[in-house]
């Protein structure tokens, strides 16, 4: 594995992912604010949560990119289109498994079954994160496809 290349391509891909998600949020295509969602794991303070969440997401992306790189190495091939395919699969996992587990994992998230409580007040994402807007799944698919494509294009095999 090419550690230097992974560090650089993983970092750039994660930055692109974050930028794209922030852009679609700013354009009103989705209400999902991923840094806020992640940051509220650690603090209820809105502004602090967004900062914490951004840092967590950055390291998350870096960590996940190892999996991409390991798959590239195992196939002895790293191309943008294969990276994009992996990104789509990654997004599908996040939207289905990840989001459905969120009310159980997130300490401040309410559930449709029990409603909000004094501690759990955040709206759950629902299936495919559709609670956060009808175009949220599309945004997540697109952002992860770009994430994978950048990794595939920039990573140099060992």
């Amino acid at each position: 594995m090419n550690w230097g290349s992974w560090l650089l391509s993983g970092f750039l891909a994660t930055l692109a992912l974050s930028t794209l998600l922030a852009t679609v949020h700013g354009l009103g295509l989705t209400r999902m604010n991923l840094p806020y969602l992640l940051g509220t794991f650690f603090t209820p303070e809105r502004e602090k949560a967004k900062i914490y969440g951004f840092v967590v997401h950055l390291f998350n992306g870096w960590a996940f990119s190892i999996l991409y790189v390991l798959i590239f190495e195992s196939r002895h091939s790293a191309t943008w289109w294969f990276g994009a395919m992996l990104g789509l699969a990654h997004a599908l996992f996040v939207l289905t498994v990840g989001m459905s587990l969120m009310p159980g994992l997130h300490p401040r998230m309410a559930s449709e079954q029990h409603g909000p409580t004094a501690r759990r007040q955040l709206e759950p994402p629902g299936f495919m994160a559709l609670h956060y807007g009808f175009q949220t799944p599309l945004s997540v698919f697109a952002a992860h496809a770009v994430f994978g494509a950048i990794l595939g294009a920039l990573y140099h095999l060992a």
Partner: protein, 641 residues
């Protein structure tokens, strides 16, 4: 104190058509109350119906607009089923509204508050972006309430689709945001899924809560209904603290503080802008076409507003407003537009919403404002005077701000002799307005004084002085009418308007000078009503008397145009035209004393505060601000970054 309990005998929700709201006639404009969070505002009728709300900010499309169309505007109604006598009040010096209902069977209180925004003091908690909390508490006997929740998107144009989401509440999407309605009462969604209805019987001590929230960011915060008393209490405390800071110890303090609280509600806290009013198209003549959108910021209000805020001790708001003015005008400096949006953009193009009936059939309903393209030279004087007042109070003008002021001053020096649309924004063309000349004189005068005091470096003070003298000379020669023995509103004319009283306010002419005394007599004779009110000018299209003009009159008397007793009496008389909550609109109907125009109106409340301050200063023997020498020490610094 015992907390009210949730009733156990909630009536079963049903899908029958709501019965109450459609039977209510149009409320009078003065029958509305305002609640807000310094980013948006809602108008609540005496019957407990929210009939105007724009989220996420004042100038966005409405989600409730029954104030402009009873059938299709949208509303959120909570009211006793039986006929009730109704009284209202704000909880002490706060913007938390209480509506008291009394029926033959009991009495209850509806509490309305917007909890986010201004009082975001509890930042360590999860709080919704925008939220209205409504609480109904039965205090004696029993009472049955009907709830009718009927939101309509885009100024009543589009229906919404409401869905139940498990135990989270009821949800609908609209544009880029999501709305949530949560209730401790069982509510039924209509077959078309666009309306929610319910009834509940409350007994003494019982209470139900409603939370309506909006967010453009997910995950949205959904506070549990059992926790809604705490934010209400916190809101009361935060507003009370803010109102209690008002530095005014004269008569009618409660009304002055109420005006300050209303101004604060119209202050868009993220930007510092202060809007003229939170509504659009409430008519200046019922059934007429004088219906305008006031949800923008007029630079004209600047000097009056800054003075009111500074003298009441609200430095932070005054600084924010001054900064907003400088930021908003940055792209157009040294030219100024007369009005801007909340973030300093050009106000939207005016258009008519012909599908709305308008308040009491006052068509058309307009959004946007065509006055954005007018030339009004008075705004230069108002902006410069606002900065000067800030400096005279001890504020420091940094180098960037000094450059801005010099740029504006140089523009005035080159252009003061032009015709313009003037303060009243007629859509009939440009004229040489005396008030515009007065404000150009004010601009030159204040810049000269700032230069003399050392607040303005590298300014062409001599040029300003020369122009100041030239403007004065022109006003004295061409704005004075020998036949009328009065200044006139347009040069070389015989027209009068109430802004002539401001010649004294800005220090151009002493209030007790012979010319001002006879001008005042002429203004009162031609523009006054037997009830002591003033029209802004005479027009073929009948409209109401202009509320701030009457406060200008009281202030003119306080400045030396009359005795302090005359000023006090007129001021006390004018207070009778406020609604039961102390709120004013733009105009007063001379026949009924009722409110006309957009509501509540910042300009009128600024006028009330200004008059109260001038009267108090006269009582104390202090000079009015415009005539006061600059302060010796700097209090704070404002930066035009």
């Amino acid at each position: 104190m015992r907390r009210p309990t949730v009733p156990e005998n909630l009536t079963e929700p049903d899908k029958q058509a709501p019965t109450l709201h459609n039977t209510f006639p149009w409320p009078k404009i003065g029958d509305y109350a305002i609640i807000g969070d310094c980013r948006s505002a809602a108008l609540v009728s005496r019957q407990g119906s929210i009939e105007w709300l724009c989220w996420p900010r004042f100038d966005k499309a409405s989600i409730f607009a029954a104030i402009l169309d009873r059938a299709r505007g949208g509303h959120w109604h909570i009211s006793p089923v039986a006929s009730a006598s109704i009284t209202r009040q704000y909880v002490s010096d706060s913007n938390v509204l209480e509506t008291h209902f009394s029926t033959t069977s009991g009495s209850a209180v509806l509490t309305d508050v917007m909890t986010s925004g201004f009082n975001r003091f509890h930042l360590k908690d999860l709080i919704p972006d925008h939220e209205i909390i409504r609480r109904v508490t039965c205090v004696a006997g029993e009472m049955e309430f009907e709830i009718d929740f009927f939101p309509k998107a885009s100024y009543g144009k589009s229906e919404v689709e409401i869905h139940p989401i498990g135990k989270l509440g009821l949800r609908f999407f609209c544009g880029a945001g999501v709305y949530w309605l949560r209730s401790s009462v069982s509510l039924a969604i209509s077959d078309r899924a666009d309306r929610v209805h319910g009834r509940v019987v409350l007994h003494a001590g019982e209470s139900v809560h409603f939370s309506f929230s909006y967010s453009e960011e997910a995950p949205t915060v959904l506070p549990p209904l059992t926790e809604l008393d705490a934010p209400i209490d916190r809101a009361i405390e935060a507003w009370r603290k803010w109102g209690g800071r008002a530095n005014y110890d004269g008569d009618h303090r409660a009304m002055v503080v109420r005006s300050a609280l209303t101004l604060k509600l119209l202050n868009h806290s993220p930007s510092g802008a202060i809007i003229a009013a939170p509504t659009t198209s409430l008519p200046e003549r019922t059934g007429g076409a004088l219906n305008w959108d006031y949800r923008y910021c007029w630079l004209r209000d600047a000097s009056f507003t800054i003075r009111a805020l500074l003298e009441l001790g609200y430095w932070e708001e005054a600084e924010d407003f001054l900064e907003w003015m400088l930021q908003a005008t940055r792209l157009t400096q040294p030219k100024l537009r007369i009005l801007y949006s909340l973030y300093g953009d050009i106000a939207p193009v005016e258009r008519e919403l012909d599908y709305l009936s308008g308040y009491c059939d006052s068509r058309p309903v307009r959004i946007g404002n065509a006055a954005r393209d007018q030339l009004q030279l008075d705004v230069y004087g108002e902006v410069i005077d606002a900065a000067a007042q800030f400096a005279f109070h001890g504020g420091h003008l940094d180098r960037t701000l000094q450059k801005v002021l010099i740029g504006l001053g140089n523009y005035v020096a080159r252009n003061w002799d032009q015709a313009d649309e003037g303060i009243w924004e007629p859509r009939s063309g440009r004229q040489n307005h005396t008030h515009s000349r007065l404000m150009c004189w004010t601009a030159m005068d204040r810049l000269v004084r700032l230069c003399e005091h050392g607040d303005l470096k590298s300014a062409p003070a001599e040029d300003y002085r020369r122009n100041s003298n030239a403007i004065r000379d022109q006003i004295e020669r061409r704005a004075w009418n020998d036949r009328l023995q009065s200044y006139v509103s347009v040069l070389d004319s015989d027209e009068l308007d109430a802004s002539l009283l401001l010649l004294s306010w800005y220090g151009f002419a002493e209030a007790k000078s012979p010319r001002m005394q006879s001008t005042y007599r002429a203004v009162r004779l031609h523009l006054g009503t037997p009830d002591g009110l003033l029209y802004r000018y005479r027009t073929a299209n009948s409209e109401g008397t202009f509320a701030i003009c009457s406060f200008w009159e009281a202030e003119y008397l306080a400045l030396g145009g009359g005795s302090v007793q005359e000023a006090q009496e007129l001021f006390a008389h004018l207070l009778k035209y406020a609604n039961d909550l102390g709120l004013y609109g733009e105009e007063i109907d001379p026949k009924t004393g009722g409110t006309l125009g957009n509501f509540p109106q910042a300009f009128t409340h600024v006028g009330l505060i200004g008059a109260a301050l001038s009267i108090r200063q006269r009582e104390m023997g202090e000079p009015q601000l415009a005539h006061r020498p600059p302060a010796a020490h700097s209090h704070t610094e404002i930066k035009a970054t």
